[in-house]
């Protein structure tokens, strides 16, 4: 049943309105694989929710296609058993209890009611089962939304900004839950406008800006900029000259003090310092700050 690609978006375009048209999604293509958590990232208003809603058959694309295991969402015989979705602007009637809300969803999908206590347990809402949703915190609503997505035990999960409104503990819980679901072989697609929120959760990233694709790659590739070493010593200017003479690598002053050396490894720099007898204070591999990579990528001008 699990085909190679869980979700495939091909050349998707969506323009809202005709008098003052808004191009929400531009020629977007990407795919989501099973067994992984894919982060769908972009600043606010970059078209994430619109794309997810198109994938789920709620929004009609202007052109292009969004397929789930090769089919349109509306062609799925039992959609909730294939895709579990929790969307940003998806609500719950405040007068309904958590349990009644999930029963409404069960009834619609022909799912037996005994899944309700099971998913409530899975998201840690067992205690709140018979409380009205109107009194829930944002974090509890997020958990309830995830519970709704899990009802049909689907192979694919689509979650729009699931970390929004969660405290650090909640984010850790979400990470753990989503990692487990991916380990079970499910395809998990989560959107976020902050990379750091999901940085520890996702395997792959799909980054969009102004409705268009910036890049799709494994998270590891995103952070793998040119290799850099941070070094601080008793005499940085002399060390910088030494490094340049001995290895030919450039050493430039680092923002927080010390030197950033591009293209050399720390062992080589240690040896150079030893031969020149310059005492070292600090020496470590410098990893690029993911969030700033993300900001740089999404703020780069996207040509229409």
């Amino acid at each position: 049943m699990s085909s190679h690609v869980a979700i495939e978006v091909r050349g998707l375009n969506k323009t809202f309105g005709s008098r003052k048209p808004v191009r929400a999604v531009r020629d977007l293509s990407f795919s989501v694989a099973p067994g992984k958590v894919t982060g769908f990232l972009g600043p606010n208003g970059s078209g994430k929710t619109t794309t997810l809603r198109t994938v789920l058959g709620l929004v009609r694309p202007t052109s292009g296609d969004a397929l789930i295991q090769g089919q349109h969402y509306s062609q799925l015989a039992h959609p909730q058993r294939v895709v579990g979705a929790a969307l940003e602007a998806s609500g719950v009637h405040p007068g309904r209890t958590a349990q009644a809300h999930l029963q409404v969803l069960c009834a619609a999908g022909g799912i037996p009611y005994d899944r309700v206590p099971a998913v409530l347990e899975e998201v840690g809402l067992t205690e709140a089962a018979s409380r009205k949703v109107g009194g829930f915190s944002l974090g509890m609503r997020q958990r309830l939304a995830l519970a709704g997505a899990l009802l049909g035990d689907p192979a694919i999960l689509v979650l729009d900004e699931p970390a929004n409104g969660l405290d650090p503990e909640g984010i850790a819980w979400l990470r753990h839950t989503l990692r487990n679901l991916a380990a079970e072989g499910k395809a998990v697609l989560i959107s976020s406008h902050v990379l750091s929120e999901v940085q520890l959760t996702v395997d792959d990233v799909v980054i969009i800006s102004k409705g268009a694709l910036v890049t799709q790659c494994p998270l590891a590739e995103l952070s793998a900029g040119p290799r850099q070493v941070l070094v601080r010593s008793a005499d940085d200017p002399s060390l910088a000259r030494a490094i340049n003479e001995e290895s030919g690598n450039a050493a430039s002053p680092a923002p927080g003090g010390g030197l950033l050396v591009t293209g050399a490894d720390s062992a080589a720099i240690g040896r150079i310092a030893l031969t020149r007898q310059i005492p070292l204070i600090e020496l470590r591999e410098h990893s690029a700050d993911l969030e700033s990579v993300f900001l740089e990528l999404t703020h780069a001008e996207v040509s229409a």
């Binding site: 619109t50 309904r96 969803l105 619609a108």
Partner: protein
Amino acid sequence: MNALRSEIRKLTSTKLTWWLALASFAFTALNVVLLVYLVPTNAQIRDNTVLLELPDYVTSIVAACGSASVFILLIGVLGLTGEYRHMTITATFLASPRRWPVLLSKAAVFGVLGALLGIVNFAVSYALARLTLAGKVHAPIDTSLAGKILLGVMLGFAIYAILGMAVGALLRNQIAAVIIALVWVLLVQPLLGVFFSWAPKWLPGGALDSILHQSYQGGRTTADLLPAWGGALVLIGYAVVLGAIAAGTTLRRDVT
């Protein structure tokens, strides 16, 4: 059918509909009491007729259940706009991506609910009419006509609930839809009747009166209205036309 079961669970898990149902029963009771005690007293002073001795007037007391129609309309409006107000429409269409079974199920559930509330409202007005008229001099209650009124109120309220849904589906904004429904029922429709004597029989309110054999609404006589079958056709016509427009829009519209 799953969509149908889901709609029923929605209805049984919230309270607003049931409060409106209770309000409709109370309103019916109030109207019966007014027609039996208050209106005849004033009328006798004015033109010296004993209203309770007129068969048409007694019929209008039994048909007072029809006055609760505005609550049934609101049940339909609120039932549908609630989905947009609380944004549950997303979950609804995620679970049933083919939208027309959802719309049909909603129409069926609200139609049946309207018919059931019609039965209860009829029971209220009929029982209360018997109770309050007992011991007074009055024209006999025509039981065969009462049977027709029961059928009329069932059909009429089923259609009012569906009309409410259609208005709700077209407007989506709950407050706007409620206001427009109320302004129509309380202001526009009566005023149209005042300015154009031919209008009431073609409007939903007049059509409802005709299938309820209701002759004493707003001083109008049955002569201004269509026969019951004509009124039924007009009501069904409104439901079909408004329903089709609402469904066509909802089927195509993006859910964002």
